[in-house]
Structures are given as C-alpha cells and as structure tokens.
Symmetry: C2
Subunit: 307 residues, 2 copies
C-alpha cells in the first residue's frame, strides 16, 4: 500500500469532570487526509484545503507528529500529506489532534503497523505541543483508540480505553468566537481546594462506572465539573443557558468541549440528541451568535481508512 485516505475524528476532551484525562471521539465530524509513501526522506505537506494552515512541516501539527513518527521508525523513505481540513482550528473539538492523530495512524498503516496505539499517541502528542504548548493526550488518545479514553497517567503515559454505551450521542455547538487553548489554560488556577478535588474524582469514578455499566443516569449525574467549567465558561457567551436548556430537553449532562468555546451535551439516543441540537440552536439564535452544530454517535473506532 502506497497511499491511504483516512477520516480523522473530532474529539471532545475533558468531558466535564475529567479535566486533562478523559476524551471521546465523534463520528460525523472530522477531517480527511491522504498520506502517501515517498522514497524521499522527511515529511512534505503538499496540499491543505478547507482552512488556511501552514504547509511548512515543522509549523504544521501533522508534520511535527509525522517527524516524531519517522524519527522512531526504521522506514527509509518519507511521506506526503494532503489535508482536507473540515474541523475549524480553535473550535475546541480537537482540530489539531485530528491532524496529528490522522497522520501518524495512516503512516503506521502504510508501514504495516510497526507501532502500538500508545506509541502513536506519543507521536501525535508532539503535534499537540506545537498547537498549544502542552503535549496533552486527551484529544489524540480518543482520536487514535476510538470511543472514550482515560489518560490514567502522563508519566509514564498510560491510556485506558473505556467502553462506550451503544446509545450514547453527543451534540456539539461551536459558537463563532475564538478561544485559544493556550489562553484558556492560562486563566486556570494552579491550586484547587481539596474539597473540590474530592468532588471531581468522585465524578470521574462515577462516569467510568456508568460507562462500564451502560448506566445512563449515572453518566448524567457524573457529568459535573466544579473546577474548570466555572472559570472557563465565563469566556463562552450563553454557556449557562445552552447547558441548562439542553438538560431541560433531555440531555444527560454536558459542559465545555476541551478548552472551548464549543459546548457539548451527551444524550441517550439520537432523537434526544437532535432535540438538544434544536434547543442549542434556538438559544444561540436568540442571543444572536453564529454557530456550527453537530450531532454524532460516539465513534468507537477512531481514525479510520476510507479508501
């Protein structure tokens, strides 16, 4: 195989209570990439459509992730990358992670899978570092593993795939305002109260237990973030209303997707997820904010080959 075309899913990181550790992959939102083996060494980005992004290898997240891959590989050649960028950068649904994860997953396929998923996450994290100064894994891990993932530890890196209940759907609304990941990290406090910490790890435990048991109510009760959401939501106009209305029409719960500004809600079944979408649209129309909106099943496969 000399060339592969892949779908690179958008992802929701943090998932309310799981700041920096939890993430999930989406099914109906993502980029497409073509990766091609070359005899020439190194990584060349030949084409980017959909968004204005740097073609220079060391300035593009997929280039940087690809270089990290090549450095550990014994492959003698290189790769060309074409990106059809459909996820808007800065939207909070893992735009950079999709490119980084998609690139290294595809390269691994082309070489006959020399690397494990865990190693691919490590390469892709280099792309994340370029994008946001922090090599976080909570978007690239679900993009590569699919479904829900837990980053149990960063040092050493330990990724735990978590099962996904079959009827779990996400609704994600992206208000057309920009919040940079690096900025939204800066406003966080470096200390938290032990009391809030206890609430948070109680909820993380509850969410994981709910996912294992298909206990949608428990999932809903656990989707609470007393630490990051109260601070970051200030940057997102209409956040409280969007969330309250989503829960009012039947969502299990919701919060900020990654570092925002996208807001997500999880629901049991597509029908409710669509109702949640209607409610979100309505809310932003009333406030007068432009938006994109997506309804998606949780994608349990991660990056996948489409041709």
């Amino acid at each position: 195989m000399e060339e592969i075309k892949v779908f690179c899913p958008a992802t929701i990181a943090n998932v309310s209570c799981g700041f920096d550790v939890l993430g999930l992959a989406l099914d109906s939102v993502g980029d497409e990439m073509i990766i091609r083996k070359t005899s020439e060494k190194g990584i060349t980005i030949t084409k980017i459509s959909g968004q204005e992004l740097p073609l220079e290898t060391t300035k593009n997240v997929s280039g940087v992730a690809g270089l990290a891959f090549l450095e550990k590989s014994d492959f003698d050649g290189g790769f060309e990358i074409e990106i059809d960028k459909r996820i808007k950068p800065g939207s909070g649904i893992g735009s950079s992670a999709a490119s980084s994860a998609g690139a290294v997953w595809a390269m691994n396929e082309l070489l006959g899978k020399p690397f494990s998923n865990l190693e691919l996450v490590q390469f892709a994290m280099q792309g994340e570092k370029l994008a946001s100064d922090v090599a976080h894994a909570d978007n690239v891990a679900p993009a590569i593993y699919g479904g829900f993932t837990l980053v149990r530890s960063y040092n050493p890196l330990d990724i735990v795939p978590i099962p996904t209940p079959n009827e779990l759907f996400a609704t994600v609304i992206h208000p057309q305002i920009e919040v940079k990941t690096s900025d939204s990290r800066k406003i966080l406090k470096t200390n938290i109260t032990l009391e809030k910490g206890i609430q948070q790890w109680g909820n993380v435990g509850g969410l994981i237990a709910g996912l294992f048991q298909n206990d949608y109510d428990l999932i809903g009760r656990s989707l609470q973030d007393h630490i990051v959401e109260p601070i970051r939501s200030i940057l997102i106009p209409g956040f409280d209303k969007i969330k309250a209305n989503a829960i009012h029409v039947g969502a299990l719960g919701g919060g900020i997707s990654g570092s925002g500004p996208s807001i997500f809600a999880l629901s049991k079944g597509e029908k409710i997820a669509q109702k949640v979408a209607e409610s979100m649209k309505e809310t932003y129309k009333n406030i007068g904010i432009e938006f994109d909106i997506h309804v998606s099943k949780v994608n349990t496969q991660g990056v996948k080959r489409i041709s």
Copy 2:
C-alpha cells in the same frame, strides 16, 4: 424475627487514590453484634465486650446510628444492642463504621427491610460523625453494600457499588500506635495543586476501570496517592519500608488504610497476600513495633447474618 446476630466487617477507606470516596470491605476481620427488638422505645446498649467503649446510647456510634434509624422508622418499639468489639478503635480499618453499619443493617433486617442500602448508609453516617466529627461514608458504604464502593457525591449522597475481581486479597497491618481520625484530618492541607488533582482523578478512573475489567495490573498502577499519603504517612513509622517491601514481594500496590495507622496492600491471590503479610511482619519486627496483621479476601457481601 426478634433477634439477629451479625458479622460487621472491617473496611479500608480511601484505597490510595480515592480519598473520601472509595472503600472496600474485609472478610476475615470484623465485629459481631446481637440486635434485639424491644417493645420499649429507644436504643439500649446492654453489653460491650472486647473493648472499653461507652454504653450510653448517645455516646456510642451504634447507638447514634440506631437513633437515626428509629427516627425515620415507623416502628413503635426499640432495640437492644450487644457488641463483641474485635476491631480496635483508632486502627484505621473502620472500627466505628462496623458498629454503625452493623447496627442499622441488623435493625433493618429485623423490621423486614423497610430501608434501602443508601438510607442505611445515611443512618450509619451519623455514627461516623460522632466518631470523627465528619459524617464520612467511605467506610460505612462498603460495610453495608459489600465489595468496593464509590461515594460519587455527598450532596446528594450517591453510592456506586463497584464489582470486585474474584482473586483480590487485602493484607492489613496495624502498628500499635494511635492516630485519631480527627487529628489525621487536621494535618491535611485545604488546597492541592491542580496538577496533583489531575493525577488523582486519573488514578481513580484507572482503579475503577481495573476493577470492572479484572485488570490486576491496572489496579496496581492506579493505587497511587500523591495528595494525602505523602502527608499522613509521616505519622506512621516504617510506612515507606512496609509499602516498598510489600510491592517487592508481589503486592499490586498499597497505602494507608483510612486515616491510618493501618497500612494495606492489595494482591492477586491469597498466596501473594500471605507473602506480603510475612514481609510486613518482618519489617515491623526489625523496626521493633508491635502489630496485628490480617489477610482477607475482599468481602462482597458486607454486613451479614451469622445466626
């Protein structure tokens, strides 16, 4: 049924990463209690053997828990309580919780189970409040539900029973020094760094996932506490050695049981748990500290009727 005799298990709270939220019940260590229906209203503690503890109802944790039970019950009479106290108070393996949980569980049986486990935990928490000023649930919940339990939230109280892998054994050593729960809470800091919080909820997620999947390695990797253990372990002579040696001979991991001074380790299989016990004994013999030691399967039943 007019009288019931019950076994009231010792419990390990916190279980390393799960401060204030996780707990597990033991099988081979516990008190015995006899609870008897009386036509007279109120709670009378008629006999306590094994330890010097107050017979006065409002000063005894089982009395206080029993009064909380009676207050919500439409039962017209009362109860007599006899306690054979085998768990030493202040040992850190849920001595007060065993009495509180045992009393209300037995009363509930005698009246034909009018209350749910969740309600029983709420009554028993009143006993905990008497014992340590804080109505914590991380010992009484596993004592009543059995196995591992997660206190997802205190307000409202939300207890999640977590499945227990079949080969999971605990080794617990109790050095003969006294650490009061209230004192060992006072030395904790009210603030923690967000960074340590992230490590902690990553580990709680990992431990829950490990328990659901019978993944003993993941359980072991997740048994880490970067917040409370570094502070409280200072109060426990030989802690670092006991823990390191236990892991060296095969324990999955370990930590402080509750607020200490008992130290626990979890192992896969009784054989390793016994080896861990030998190693712990050896360590304390070398340091010259008197101790009790227990090896126990995790008790998945909680309080149980013995006659």
